[in-house]
Subunit: 363 residues, 2 copies
C-alpha cells in the first residue's frame, strides 16, 4: 500500500482544521487514526498540524507502526507515562494556541485532564466528513469485503441443513468468509428464523432452521485491510408461503426504486422516499420502522444516513447500503440489502448476489 | 437466570452513589449497563437512584429488554428524540440536584449537552469497582468460558497441520470454541509463529506453522452469557530448541511463583514481584516488559491490574490472569497464561490445560 494516500488524507484534514480556532488536532478516535495513518492497532493517538504528524503509542506497537505506517513519525510513551502525557508534551512544544479534540468520542475525564494544561477546541465530525467520500483504495477494499461476503454466503448456502441453528448459521458463515480471506465478520451476524426475523437486530439463538419456512441473514465481511461489507438476503427453507412471496416482492420493488433514485446531488432523504413510498402504497408504511440505509467503510455505520429526516446530499464516492424491510411482529420480517457506490453519473451496485424471490428458495 | 442478582448489584451501586454529591446516576457505558441489568444489546442507558431503575433504549430493543431484563422498567425513546433527550426528561422528573455520569467513558459532546440542562457530577470507576469482585453467577459463567476455550484448543491441536497459517489457526480456534458453545472469541486471537511471538500483541498473518519451530497462541472464549476467558499456551511444532526449553522453564517457574503468591489481602504488586523476580534472577528482567496479569469478566481487561506499580489488594472473588513472558525480538517470545480465582484461603486455578514443556510438544 502506498503511504501518500494517508498523507493526502491528513492534508485534507489540516485544511479543514484551518476553519476552526485550533492550530493542532489530537485525533483519538481509533477508526479516524486508522483512516489517517493506516495503523490497525489501538491505544494510539495522532497529533496533527500543518507541518506535523506524530503517532503517539506504546511499546507494544513500535514494530507494527513501522510496518503499517512507513515514514510516519512515532513517539512511544515511557512506561510510567500515560499516552495523554506524552501527547501533551509534544503538543506543548508546538506552542499552540488551541488544541482541537474529537468531542463526540473523547471521554470527559481525558477532556478535563487535557483542559487543565492546554486550551481545547471541541470539534465534531471533521474526519468523519472526509471518510464519507471513499477514495479509490477504499472502494477497492470494499469490493474485496463484498466478494468475501458473497463467496462465504454461497459456501454457507451450499452446506445449509435443516438441523442447523441460527447460531450454527452465523458461525459457519463467518468461518466461510474467512476461507475467502476475510479477517472476521463485519458485525455480529444476524441469522433469524421465522418470527425472529421481525426483530431488525435479532441475536442468533438455538432455534433450528427447520422450525419455520424462512430465515433472514444480515451479514458482511471485515477485510484484512479493515473495510466492511453489509448485505441481507432471505432464504426460503420450507414451503413457499404466499404472504412471504407477496411481501418479498414489495420489499424488492422498494429496494429497486431506492437504487434507481441514487445519483450525485440527490438528497439522501429523497432516496429513502423513493423506496418508502413503494412500501407505503402497499399498506406497510408503519411496518418499515428504520431508515433506508447508511454509509459504511472502516465502520459499519457511517455517514451519510438515508432516512426521512437526513439532510445530506449524495456525492460520487459515497458507498451506502439500501435495505428496506417489512416487519410483522409474531410473524416475521423481510429485508433485502445491497451495497451501492454513488458515481458521477448515477450509481453502481457493488453487490451481485441474485435477489429475485425464486433465488431465495432453497432446493 | 434470576433477576434479583441484577437488583442486588444495582443496590450496591446506589449505596456507593450516596458517597458522591449526586442523587441519580446515568449509566452509559455498555458493559456497566449489562452488569447492572443483564441486557446484552447496545445504545441503551440506565437511569438509577434509590427507588428508581429505568432502562432508556429504542424500539429495536423493546422485545430484547423484556426477555433479558424481566421486571426492569424500560422507556423506549420516540423516533424523533435522542436517547439523551429521553433520559434527560426522565431525570428531570426526579427533581434531582446532581446527576452522576461516567467520566471515563462518556463523550465530551454528550457531557456538554447534558450539562446545559442539569448539574453533573463526574464519577470514575464506581461500577468497575463492583465488577472487580465476581459473584457466584459470574464465576460460573467464567468457568463456562474457560471450558469452551480449553475444549476448542484441544480440538484445534488435534487437527493442527504444518501448512496452516497463523490466520488459519486463529480462525479455526474461534470456530472450534463455538462448537462447544462460545458466542465468539473473547478478543482477537493471537497466533504467532517463531519470531512473531516476540510481539506481545502480534496480529495473525499468512505465515505458516511450518516456518518456525514453535508458535504462541493467546486466546479466550466469550460465552453466550457475555463472560470471557483468557489463556496462552506455546506449541512446539518443529525440533525442540534447547533455548526454547530453557526459557520456557523460566517462564513456567515464574508463573508458578506468581500463582503461589496469590491470596486475599495480598498486594497485587507483590504477586507481580513474586513472578518477576524469577525472570530477573534468570537474567531476563528487561525482556518481560508488561504487567503480570489483569482482571477480566464482561471485558477482557478489568481491574485489578497486576504490575510493579499497581496498588490494589486482592480480595476473594477476583478473577485474574497470570501471564509472565520473555520476549527476544527477532527470535521469539514465550508466555504462559492461566486464569485464577482468589478465594478466602488462597486461590483456585480455574484453567486446567497441561503446561509442562513436554505438554507443548506436538507429536
Amino acid at each position: 500500500m502506498a503511504t501518500d494516500r494517508f498523507q493526502s488524507r491528513r492534508n485534507r484534514l489540516v485544511r479543514k482544521l484551518r476553519k476552526t480556532n485550533a492550530d493542532v488536532m489530537l485525533v483519538t478516535y481509533e477508526p479516524n487514526v486508522t483512516y489517517l495513518t493506516g495503523f490497525s492497532g489501538d491505544s494510539s493517538y495522532l497529533l496533527l498540524a500543518k507541518d506535523l504528524a506524530v503517532m503517539v503509542s506504546d511499546s507494544r506497537y513500535t514494530t507494527q507502526i513501522q510496518e503499517e505506517c512507513p515514514g510516519l513519525e512515532a513517539r512511544i510513551r515511557k512506561t510510567a507515562e500515560t499516552i495523554l502525557d506524552t501527547a501533551l508534551k509534544l503538543a506543548r512544544k508546538q506552542k499552540i494556541k488551541k488544541l482541537a479534540v474529537e468531542a463526540d468520542t473523547l471521554a470527559v475525564s481525558l477532556w478535563q485532564r487535557l483542559g487543565e494544561q492546554i486550551p481545547l477546541q471541541p470539534t465534531s465530525g471533521l474526519v468523519e466528513e472526509l471518510r464519507m467520500v471513499k477514495d479509490a483504495d477504499e472502494i477497492a477494499e470494499i469490493r474485496r469485503a463484498i466478494d468475501q461476503a458473497e463467496r462465504g454466503f454461497g459456501f454457507l448456502q451450499a452446506g445449509l441443513q435443516d438441523t442447523m441453528t441460527e447460531l450454527n448459521v452465523a458461525h459457519d458463515l463467518e468461518h466461510a468468509m474467512r476461507r475467502f480471506g476475510a479477517e472476521k465478520a463485519a458485525f455480529e451476524i444476524i441469522a433469524a428464523v421465522g418470527d425472529r426475523a421481525a426483530l431488525p437486530h435479532a441475536r442468533p439463538g438455538r432455534r433450528p432452521v427447520s422450525s419455520a419456512e424462512f430465515l433472514l441473514i444480515d451479514w458482511g465481511a471485515h477485510s484484512l485491510g479493515g473495510y466492511k461489507s453489509d448485505l441481507t438476503r432471505m432464504l426460503v427453507t420450507g414451503k413457499i408461503l404466499p404472504k412471504l412471496k407477496k411481501l418479498y416482492e414489495v420489499v424488492l420493488k422498494a429496494q429497486e426504486a431506492g437504487i434507481a433514485a441514487i445519483g450525485p446531488g440527490v438528497a439522501s432523504r429523497d432516496v429513502d422516499r423513493a423506496a418508502r413510498s413503494v412500501i407505503e402504497r402497499a399498506g406497510y408504511g408503519k411496518q418499515f420502522g428504520h431508515g433506508l440505509g447508511h454509509g459504511f467503510g472502516l465502520e459499519i455505520h457511517e455517514h451519510p444516513r438515508l432516512s426521512p429526516v437526513t439532510k445530506t446530499r449524495l456525492s460520487p464516492g459515497m458507498v451506502i447500503t439500501i435495505e428496506p424491510g417489512i416487519y410483522l411482529p409474531g410473524w416475521g420480517g423481510i429485508r433485502i440489502e445491497d451495497d451501492v457506490l454513488v458515481t458521477r453519473d448515477g450509481c453502481e451496485v457493488l453487490t451481485s448476489l441474485p435477489k429475485q424471490f425464486a433465488d431465495s428458495v432453497l432446493r
